[in-house]
């Protein structure tokens, strides 16, 4: 058995462990902002990464298309069945929209929580060691992206921007275990407000907490972002309620929500910037300030 550690090596190992601990504690302290060298690395690596990811998306799209063609007949039948229904809904939506516009004009209300500008982005990487649910997209500060903006796909809300560099940004998904990740939500068409807080891995469902227990919540209702968190626009679809129960203390209700968006195989996402002024300290920001988090009991 050879001696594993000569003195020199032992010292080297100890020094490197000390450097490691120092570096980790330094970077853990402030993960929300990227320092200048970090930004530089992120932009350069991000550029290289997009050279690899975009062809990969193209290939998966082609495979998806072939898959789609194979299912065309079945889908066509189903879609035809729903077409007549769709036309009627479409007419109704146009009618309601124009009426809404007219009414808004009458009351001279210009700001609308629902209105937002969108930035299309391509996902260039998903955190390869998947302890954290994070994506990196190929749009950054120069494209007008800011921290805490909501990120959606065509199906619904998937997460928010947590870190921005000039050319890339990092998106944290709703399926995160980060307890500071909150989204102000409302059950569509009612006044049932709550917060999306946490994700149940066993059920693969989101948890909506702090719903007033006097209010009636039913399974099958749709949940959307309320826009009252200060940052997200109103009306982004989050998911559908699958189960309602009470929280640990029996004071408020708690609902399990099946997310509308699919969190695997994300390739194109949309970053939303709402038109109404945003409040950087709102609930959606999820600021980890322990003092202001009095209501967070558990």
């Amino acid at each position: 058995m050879p001696r594993f550690f000569s003195n020199k090596r032992l010292i080297l190992l100890l020094v490197s462990i000390i450097v490691l601990v120092a570096l980790i504690s330094f970077s853990l302290k402030d993960r929300q902002h990227a320092s200048l060298p970090e930004q530089l690395v992120k932009d350069v690596v991000g550029f290289g990464q997009s050279l690899f990811s975009k062809p990969a998306h193209y290939i998966t799209n082609v495979i998806g298309n072939i898959d789609g063609v194979l299912n065309t007949y079945e889908e066509n039948k189903q879609l035809k069945a729903r077409l007549s229904e769709y036309a009627a809904t479409q007419a109704e939506v146009i009618d309601l929209r124009s009426e809404n516009e007219r009414l808004l004009n009458i009351v001279k209300k210009e700001d609308d929580l629902r209105a937002y500008d969108s930035v299309q982005a391509t996902v260039i990487s998903r955190n390869p060691d998947q302890w954290e649910q994070k994506l990196i997209i190929d749009r950054g500060e120069v494209h007008g992206i800011e921290k805490n903006m909501a990120v959606i796909t065509s199906n619904g809300l998937i997460g928010k921007v947590v870190l921005v560099t000039p050319l890339t940004s990092t998106v944290e998904l709703l399926t995160t275990e980060n307890r500071n990740f909150r989204v102000a939500a409302v059950v569509a068409g009612t006044k049932v407000f709550g917060l999306i807080e946490g994700y149940d891995h066993e059920r693969s469902e989101l948890i909506m907490k702090r719903i007033d227990s006097r209010l009636d919540v039913k399974e099958g209702q749709k949940v959307i972002s309320s826009g009252l968190g200060g940052i997200f626009p109103k009306g982004l679809l989050i998911g559908e309620i699958t189960e309602v129960s009470t929280d640990d203390y029996g004071l408020t209700k708690l609902a399990y929500i099946r997310p509308a968006a699919d969190f695997s195989m994300l390739d194109h996402v949309i970053v939303t910037r709402r038109n109404v002024t945003t409040d950087p300290n709102g609930t959606d920001a999820g600021i980890s300030d322990k003092d202001t988090k009095g209501e967070d009991g558990s």
Binding site: P2, L20, I24, V41, K42, V45, D129, E177, M265
Partner: protein, 174 residues
């Protein structure tokens, strides 16, 4: 020409890892399985076994640092783990015959070690709340399966490329 192929493959694998992680997690039945591509680690162990430990450690530090800065925003984690695993691998490879199959098994077992380290670190700083048994079922085993497919497909190629480089270097010296 072959001089640049060895680092070039390392960079290539570095960029391919996140592309493959786009496919993960996959859902089979009701359980979500997480596949973690560890291509760079496998390649570094092949370099350790067939080329030189020092070189593997240097590549490990550089790629680990980039990995930390770009993906996980905790600087120093993989920049430390990659060289450490290379070092442990070099201690083991000294004792055994460098047959391709042994090196393949070695890289597989080193990935288990890397996954365990990263799991303990993630639980330490509360990035995850899963327990060890759940970690083994939903993450370690699928990761092993995915990476062993990768090793079987590319192990030969890596060995041959690195071997060519070694031969060339010997030729330079002679």
């Amino acid at each position: 020409m072959i001089r640049f192929v060895v680092p070039l493959i390392a960079v290539l694998l570095f960029f391919l890892e996140p592309v493959f992680s786009l496919f993960s997690p996959i859902e089979l039945g009701d359980i979500r399985y997480t596949l973690v591509p560890r291509f760079v680690m496998i390649y570094l162990i092949f370099i350790t076994a067939y080329y030189s430990r020092e070189r593997a450690i240097v590549y490990g530090i550089i790629l680990g640092l980039l990995y930390d800065m770009f993906h996980i925003d905790i600087i120093g984690l993989y920049a430390f783990l990659y060289p450490l695993i290379c070092f442990i691998a070099s201690l083991i490879i000294r004792e055994v015959h460098r047959h391709i199959v042994t090196v393949m098994f070695l890289s597989l077992s080193m990935i288990i070690l890397l996954e365990l380290f990263s799991f303990f670190f993630a639980s330490l700083i509360a990035l995850t709340s899963i327990h060890l048994d759940e970690f083994i079922v939903t993450r370690l085993v699928p990761t092993m399966v995915a990476n062993s497919i990768f090793i079987i497909m590319f192990g030969w190629l890596f060995k041959n490329v690195i071997y060519k480089r070694v031969l060339l270097k010997r030729g330079d010296i002679l």
